[in-house]
Every structure is written in C-alpha cells, then in structure tokens.
Assembly symmetry: C2
C-alpha cells in the first residue's frame, strides 16, 4: 500500500516573536532547510503582513514547504509536503525546529494519496 505523498504538519510554539516577524530570517530558514535536504526550489513567495505575521511558501519540485506565523502568540504552522524519495521530510523538519528554537514542537505525519491494491 503505497502513498503518493508524505505531509508533515508542524506546530511551533513558544518561539521568539522577533523571529516570527522577520521575513528575511524566515525566508533564509526555509530556503536553507530545503537546500540542505536536496530539494529543488522552483518558486518562492514570502510576505510580511501588517501589523504582524509572515507567510512563506516554497514551491519545490518535490511539492512544497510553507509557514504561517503569529508572532503575537509565538506560534507558527509549518507544512512540509513531499512526493517520492527525493528527500527526507523529517530532516527538513528538524532543521526548521532548530532554526526557530521551537520548544516541544508537535509533528503529525500524514500519507496522502494512498493507493489501494484492487483484487485481480
């Protein structure tokens, strides 16, 4: 029973507000995490919202990495979606956890597009 994609949903809490509102820091963290695991970035989208919050999305050849931050709550939602075996999403997750100094982050791993074998 194979799955077409693997998606990690990360909840970062108790992060420093300054980091979560720093679009340059966030862009560098996501780009470096993607490159360190060997992902191929095809497009990037980083936006600073007013008064707080950053959205960052990397479209990668292997699917996407994205983050939405709420600096006022020290919280960020991070998703890492991969297909194939090109890179290990948990490795990218660990890099981001370290970069954001997320305390006790939660990680949910989902399999997307599970292919059921039909009886022949």
């Amino acid at each position: 029973m194979d799955a077409l994609g693997t998606q990690l949903l990360l909840e970062f809490r108790d992060c420093k507000s300054e980091l979560l509102n720093d679009v340059s820091f966030i862009r560098n963290a996501l780009v470096e995490a993607a490159l360190e695991v060997g992902a191929t970035i095809v497009q990037e989208s980083f936006h600073q919202f007013s008064p707080y919050g950053v959205t960052g999305i990397l479209a990668i050849a292997e699917s996407h990495v994205c983050i939405h931050t709420w600096p006022e709550y020290g919280y960020a939602a991070v998703d890492i979606f991969t297909c194939g075996e090109a890179f290990e999403p948990r490795k990218a997750a660990q890099i981001l956890i370290d970069r954001f100094h997320a305390k006790e982050p939660s990680i949910i791993e989902l399999k997307r597009g599970i292919l059921l074998q039909t009886a022949s």
Copy 2:
C-alpha cells in the same frame, strides 16, 4: 478554546487525467475559487512537471490554497489553509470539488494553533 487557523485537506480521486495535467485549467480553478469566496491573492505559483503533474500554490492574505496532481492516478491533494473569519474554507472546497468533478472526495478539517486558556 480558539484556533488560529483552519486547514482542510482534500483527497480528490477518479478525476480526469486531462484536467489534472492542464496547468491552465488548474490555475483558473484555484484562482476562481479563491476569488469567489473573497480571498485576497498575494502571489501565485503554477508549474507543470514532466512527464505528468502540476503543482499550484496561491499565497493569499488569509494563508494559502495549494494543489499537487498525479494525473496518471487520477489523484490530487488539495489543501486550503485559512486564518480568521474572512472566508469559509468549506465553500472554497466545494467549488474545487465541483470544478474537478472529484468523486467521493475526502475532506479532513484540522484546527491549527489551538490556544489553551491557562488558569489565572
């Protein structure tokens, strides 16, 4: 107990391969769904991969809408992530289900960034 974000994870199966490999159709479907529910598009990223498959990501002021397609399996993974009450993500999901003629789609709704009340 409030949550900062709502995320819908949609699994589309038994879709027509031609639709899932048509980057122009996919772009129009996502953009129209976002606009119909009143989302504000801040950037878009649509890519056709070889030999099959499309990745489409809309960064919206309210978070993101994205799709990854596997035309060879008639499958697409769609995520709709919203914050606040600016629009109803299930309405956007219904528009996309209709546009892709997805049969028996599954929808998982997640709450992201749940804020626990601490005892005073």
